[in-house]
Amino acid sequence: MTAQTGDAKRPNWGVTLLLCLGALTILFPLYLAVVTALKTPQELANSVFALPSTFRWQNFTEAIRLTNFFTAFRTSALVTVSVVVLTLITNSLVAYAIARNQHKRFFRYLYYYFISALFIPFPIIMLPVVRQTSAWGMDNPYGLIFLYVVYGLSFNIFVYVGYIKSIPRELEEAALIDGATTWQTFWKIIFPLLAPMNATVGILTCLWAWNDFLLPLVIISDPQFATLPLVQYIFQGQFSTNYNLAFASYLMTLAPMVIVYLLAQRWIISGVTQGAVKG
């Protein structure tokens, strides 16, 4: 990144080689997962490493049928997309109200209130919130969406407020002078300017909502509303005799995020870095 033009012609092959070897420890388990998903049980018994003689795509169709994959996929997709959209719209708005009023005691305390919740581990609210959500008929994907959006507030307010403070107030004041309301100012001026933080929050929220296991595990009581990780858990016992089907099912659960990652790798890495360094 810094001025290294002189050395750029002589790459350090020793370090490159070591890093490639290290990368194998990441790729090898994934390679095994892929080949296992494409084998017959017989082939798997003969050799764990080898490529299958023919790709057995039936493993995937069979896994789709057994796990009701598309039902769970729709649930996970609905939850993830809704959570990301609602989080970006609502959490940034709350953060804006707090960031622009920090000179007032009330909003300053609100900020501390949200931030201090970052320290509260989920197990402490887990038992009561499960009783509460089931009593209120929220033990379904909609309750789940709702909880993700609310539970994201702590961290998201933290990163948004830090960012909003760096946006000059003059922009908003100019808009106010032109007769815009505070709402209009937020949507037309501030929200577009939040793009880098929206990307960060969006990516982290997306990964969280798609991969999370504990919250669906305790909230969702009806198996027909299970998210993808929950389905893998429920069917794991059933699959223990047929690893090929299990791995096909696992891969289909991992695939959407891997595809998103391949398409948006640069933004994901920088987004995660920004969020974490703030956090």
């Binding site: 810094t2 350090n12 708005l93 659960t253």
Partner: protein, 307 residues
């Protein structure tokens, strides 16, 4: 609308007129209050409830009485709970240290003058985007089927059977998977830190004849001290709450040898009829987490200043 004439007078002014500011306050309140209420109802209120239940003998249903501190006192005599705390702490400390050593080493490599830099970075970050549960399931299979075959081929007795089935060794499997996955995140953070170091520092050190180790000790490590603090605190906080890996790899077993505190609260609270007792455990766990995080931040930040 009536205000339109007013700003024209002071269109260059940077402060809004006071009368207007007061009206804007209501908008800001309206923006923030619904979220605050919802957060209170679904986060703070359950937390308070959890704390209240921790002083009762509630089983999750039926009647209950207040029992004072009895639950708390019992935890300190409960061998299963104490074992969970021991396991969680040993696991979290080892995992935090291992992850940071590996992540810093890899990040320094990735920051160096290497080929395929972007490609390698992409690979090393990949585990972070994968579901912890599914990764656990995949490794569960590898520990049960692949590792024993390799162990036999190499004649290593300890690896010739499924380590996850051995109460003495199961924790090493969980540690391996947790570190494999968590290193990704810390690598990227260290990499971000390394890129903030000006290259001239190394050039100056080269002129002074510093060796590789000296450059690391006197330039690299002090310069990324804040990133070291963040990584240590975040890793420790995350590993103390280990849950998904345990479900996927051992289910707390064999016996109760790999039960973490989070796992014990979940299992005892929902399946074991220990709602109030595990609520007390959760409150205790919360105190432990806060104390550890604060102590860590305090100590590591002091080191930053000295460095």
């Amino acid at each position: 609308m009536s205000a339109i004439t007013e700003p024209n007078v002071s269109s260059t002014s940077t402060t809004a007129p006071p009368r207007r500011r007061r009206r804007r306050d209501h908008t800001y309140l309206f923006m923030a209050l619904p979220a605050v209420l919802l957060f209170f109802v679904f986060h703070t209120y359950p937390a308070i409830q959890g704390i209240l239940y921790s002083f009762t003998n509630f089983r999750g249903y039926g009647d209950y009485d207040f029992v004072g501190l009895r639950n708390y006192l019992q935890i300190f005599q409960d061998e299963r709970a104490l074992a969970a705390y021991r396991f969680t702490f040993v696991f979290a400390v080892l995992a935090t240290v291992l992850v940071n050593i590996i992540a810093l080493t890899v990040a320094i490599g990735l920051n160096g003058n290497i080929r395929f830099r972007n490609f390698l970075r992409g690979i090393y970050f990949l585990p972070n985007i994968l579901s912890v549960l599914i990764v656990g399931f995949i490794f569960n299979y590898l520990f049960a089927n692949l590792v024993p075959r390799i162990g036999e081929a190499l004649g290593i007795a300890a690896l010739s059977r499924n380590i996850l089935g051995d109460p003495q060794l199961a924790w090493t499997g969980i540690l391996f998977v947790a570190v494999w996955q968590a290193a990704a995140f810390n690598i990227i953070l260290y990499l971000a830190g390394l890129q903030t170091i000006p290259y001239d520092l190394y050039e100056a050190a080269d002129i002074d004849g510093a060796g590789t180790w000296q450059k690391f000790r006197n330039i690299t490590f002090p310069m990324i001290a804040p990133f070291f603090t963040i990584n240590m605190v975040l890793a420790m906080k995350g590993f103390l709450q280990v849950f998904d890996q345990i479900v996927a790899l051992t289910g707390g077993g064999p016996g109760t040898s790999t039960e973490s505190v989070s796992f014990l609260i979940y299992k005892g609270g929902f399946d074991g009829g220990q709602f109030a007792y595990q609520s007390a455990n959760a409150v205790l766990f919360f105190i432990v987490l806060v104390v550890v995080s604060l102590a860590q931040t305090r100590i590591l930040q002091r080191r930053e200043v000295e460095a």
